[in-house]
């Protein structure tokens, strides 16, 4: 066969030639048109960082170890990475519009995964975001609190500690396993108090088919390394003297437990009642701890409420739903603060009941995740 080497070589040369010419053009364009030089980002009017222009603000901040919450990884689909950008960001992009309220647009709030650093920027980063980072920990205990809630104790790496406010949550990383082809993150409230240096507790309820809960309940073992990032959230114990109404259902116990143990530990003596809803007696947990806390916090009452007690439970306590029980304890709740945790339906019923008792929106605290 007459194999045409000449032709083969020309074809390779020509295609490589075209590709080379185009790549050179792109490299030149990148170095000239696409080169925005070093840009200065001023954070909260005090810190200045110099970054490479042209990248997104999200990745520029990340390279400076400032982690802005982002669930989609910068694709502009979760809308979490909102930041106030005072100057230098240009107009709001069409890709940001679906995530911004009109009031946010007038307030210069932008999605920092979409904003590119093309000029010097002035941004406002909320203080607590500086504390957010990735942590590595070892699972040191794993116990069944009820039939479907497991308690995890995580020990941070040596000399590491997490600074958080009682009530805040973290995002637990679920590694690749049978149910997920990529690492995913799920939010859980921290159940332990901030002063437990180097440790955090989580309380996780099993949801059939749930990616994270299945992993925790069926795969995780004592001694395993787990990763999480945080702390996040506006749900935390406020620094006031107001009387407190805490309400939780199911694994919503966790952040309330953090708040109460924190109060006992720090000697914060506020008047507080904690209403906790469960179905039957077997679903109640942490009851001994609550009895202990009743001794430590002078004016604290734990009020467990069962919705469907079974006959052998011999339950002499309250029966029903928390929102209906509430008026038995309060004629008015004016001037009090309320801390809630539970599923969205339960939350809505509690909020309605509390408003009936005269509580304002800004006196009711809860995490808006299911």
């Amino acid at each position: 066969m007459d194999f045409q080497f000449g032709h083969l070589i020309t074809s390779v040369l020509i295609v490589s030639g075209i590709a080379t010419v185009l790549s050179i053009l792109i490299v030149i364009a990148d170095a000239t048109i696409g080169n925005y030089g070093d840009k200065k980002i001023t954070i909260n009017n005090e810190k200045e960082i110099i970054v490479d222009g042209g990248q997104t603000l999200l990745s520029a901040l990340k390279s400076e170890q400032i982690f802005i919450p982002s669930a989609c990884g910068g694709r502009g689909s979760c809308g979490l990475c909102k930041l106030k950008i005072e100057s230098g960001a240009g107009e709001v992009l069409p890709t940001e519009l679906p995530f911004l309220e009109p009031s946010e647009i007038t307030d210069n709030v932008r999605l920092c995964c979409q904003v590119k650093v093309k000029a010097d920027l002035e941004v406002t980063v909320p203080e607590e975001l500086f504390k957010i980072r990735q942590f590595e920990a070892r699972c040191v205990s794993l116990v069944d609190l009820t039939a479907d809630i497991k308690g995890l104790r995580l020990e941070l790496s040596e000399n590491d500690k997490i600074e958080f406010k009682a009530g805040q949550f973290i995002q637990l990383e679920v590694p690749v396993y049978d149910l997920t082809p990529e690492a995913v993150y799920r939010a859980y409230s921290i159940a332990s108090k901030p002063d437990d240096d180097g440790f955090i507790d989580l309380e996780i309820k099993y949801v059939p088919g749930g990616i994270c809960t299945t992993w925790v309940h069926k795969f995780l073992k004592v001694g395993d390394t787990v990763k999480f990032n945080g702390p996040y959230g506006d749900f935390y114990l406020r620094d006031t003297d107001a009387e407190m109404i805490c309400m939780a259902v199911g694994s919503g116990m966790a952040p309330i437990k953090s708040i109460l143990t924190h109060m006992a530990h720090r000697g914060i003596n506020r008047k507080v009642k904690y209403f906790y809803g469960a179905r039957k007696r077997d679903d109640l947990y942490n009851t001994e701890l609550m009895e202990e806390l009743e001794k430590l916090i002078p004016d604290f009452n734990f009020i467990p409420v069962l919705s469907r007690p079974e006959e052998e439970d011999n339950w002499s306590g309250k029966v029903g739903r928390l929102n209906n029980i509430l008026p038995e304890y309060y004629e008015t709740a004016q001037g009090m603060e309320s801390y809630l945790c539970g599923n969205p339906d339960a939350l809505n019923s509690y909020i309605a009941a509390l408003k009936n008792l005269g509580l304002r929106d800004d006196e009711i605290f809860y995490d808006p995740f299911a």
Binding site: H7, T10, S11, I14, V15, I18, A19, L22, S23, L25, I26, A29, D30, I33, G34, G90, E91, L93, P94, T95, K116, K118
Partner: protein, 197 residues
């Protein structure tokens, strides 16, 4: 033969209506389905496609007749055309981003989306198969781009008005969009016989 070599204007006109690249050949479907929720974004994407299709058809025509034919490399046209389109889109995006923020906001952010729009490669290949001249190729590219834009803007208009309609559960999203596209394409294909290109 007159029928086999239509005039430039006929090609331009046919590319928009009777031989609409999207509705008669179903090329460029992915972005058509994904970005046809709002008229405003559809117009932006449409303009970007018009611009890129027109310019790359000219570029690819030159590359084909002045590089590939003399070196007898026509069988490499697929890979070469794709490289040219991808590189061109990259550079245009950088230029627009630098030069005009307004234009970039309206058009530039869609450019990376259309590098892989098959309508663009389709136009480059058809103009070769049909042996168009440079001028006809540009007219064909421009027409196809406008036709693609007409189709996606019409679809976005329909979908915007359908927000309040009750669509059977299983057909929501891409399903009903494909059905609408089918009905639209029947309307366009009805006139296919008028001009042969």
């Amino acid at each position: 033969m007159e029928g086999s070599s239509p005039g430039t204007f006929a090609i331009f006109f046919a590319a928009i209506f009777t031989s609409n690249i999207l509705l008669t050949l179903y090329l460029g479907m992915c972005s058509f389905l994904a970005v046809s929720k709002q008229v405003k974004t559809a117009v932006g994407l449409g303009l970007a496609v018009v611009f890129v299709i027109t310019t790359t058809s000219a570029l690819n025509w030159l590359v084909y007749y002045y590089v590939l034919i003399p070196f007898k490399l026509v069988y490499l046209k697929y890979i070469v055309f794709i490289i040219v389109i991808a590189a061109f889109v990259q550079i245009v995006e950088m230029i627009i981003e630098r030069v005009s923020e307004k234009l970039y906001n309206a058009l530039g952010i869609f450019l990376p989306l259309i590098t892989v729009n098959c309508a663009i490669l389709g136009v480059s290949l058809f103009m070769i198969i049909r042996k168009y001249t440079l001028v006809s190729s540009v007219a064909y590219g421009l027409g196809s781009g406008i036709g693609w834009m007409v189709a996606i803007v019409a679809m976005a208009g329909i979908r915007q008005n359908m927000k309040r309609s009750r669509v059977p559960g299983g057909l929501e999203g891409a399903g009903i969009t494909l059905i609408i596209a089918g009905i639209m394409s029947m309307a366009f294909m009805g006139f296919t016989g008028m001009i042969k290109i």
